[in-house]
Amino acid sequence: MTVANIEVSETPLMLYALRRADDALILGHRLSEWCGHAPAMEEDMALANMGLDLLGQARELYTYAAKVEGRGNDEDKFAYLRDVRQYRNLLLVEQPNGDFARTMVRQFFYAAFADLYWRAMMASSDPTFAAIAAKSEKESAYHVRHSSEWVVRLGDGTEESHRRAQTAIDDLWAYTGEMFAVDDGERGLIDAGIAIDPATLKARWLKTVTGIVNEATLALPKSDWMQQGGRVGSHSEHLGHLLSELQSLQRTFPGATW
């Protein structure tokens, strides 16, 4: 018996939940890769805590996606039995950990968005989303706090940490635009009051990011070219490797329960 990829019926609401679930899983997975290898033991604790928060968000969102879809899929089928082209996460979150500066800048860019996003989503007319948002907002707020403190310390620390933090910003900047993009399906959900328009968050996000980056004596790139594609399954090369690791047992022993 071989395990094919599951089929997914991407209706607008289902896809909306799936995309956010994928963001949380992939970023949580990236953070979990640090476990046992962080620059200080105190930071090992912090990275794992943020990873666990995201993993928890992913599970709730997958479960909701499965419910909306109603085809017998579940959190594990979504996580373990979809190929890279079926994943719908932002390109930002799949970027490799790199050094600690890159991990923290990635975390900061995402959390600064997620915090605003979940806070706004607490007003969603969809009660499940509103409930997930209420929990995720608090978690994201702490992720902003923690990652921004580190961005400031790395930027305004030593020459080496400054250089590393600036490189991370320069390399990751082009992946931030995708957070604010909306397609037709999502537009319908926004009109229905289920989703919020992320474009309305952009000015505040930029204000937070600029404030911290300035405090850190760093600079945002001039370029406004933004990479897109994660939301429709056009990923970077990195995601395939992440998935081959994440899914290895499920793919090696088809149909087994763990």
Partner: protein, 95 residues
């Protein structure tokens, strides 16, 4: 080369409102902000706290255990500070 020392902080946690902060352990952090966050991540993973204090370990002045006699024994003989020292007739009831 020896690893340079990172400052040591003592951590105190209030587990719920109405209780005092209690010493739970220590941690290392470069500054107070990081110390507070580390305390949260290390000592409150299971919802143990509602409030955290972090204090630089070297800011604590401790009594010397070898002076225990001089410091604490004089208080032991002052039994008249305790309510049981005084006789109140049973008929009066609880006082």
């Amino acid at each position: 080369m020896a690893t340079p020392n990172v400052p040591l902080w003592e951590v105190f946690i209030r587990s719920r409102n109405g209780l005092a902060h209690k010493h739970v352990g220590s941690l290392h952090a470069a500054d107070a902000t990081l110390a507070l966050q580390a305390a949260r991540d290390i000592y409150t993973r299971r919802g143990e706290g509602l409030s955290i204090w972090v204090v630089p370990s070297n800011a604590i002045t401790a009594s010397d255990p070898s002076e225990k006699g001089m410091m604490f024994e004089p208080a032991e003989s002052k039994i008249y500070r305790h309510p049981t020292f005084y006789d109140v007739p049973d008929e009066v009831g609880h006082m």
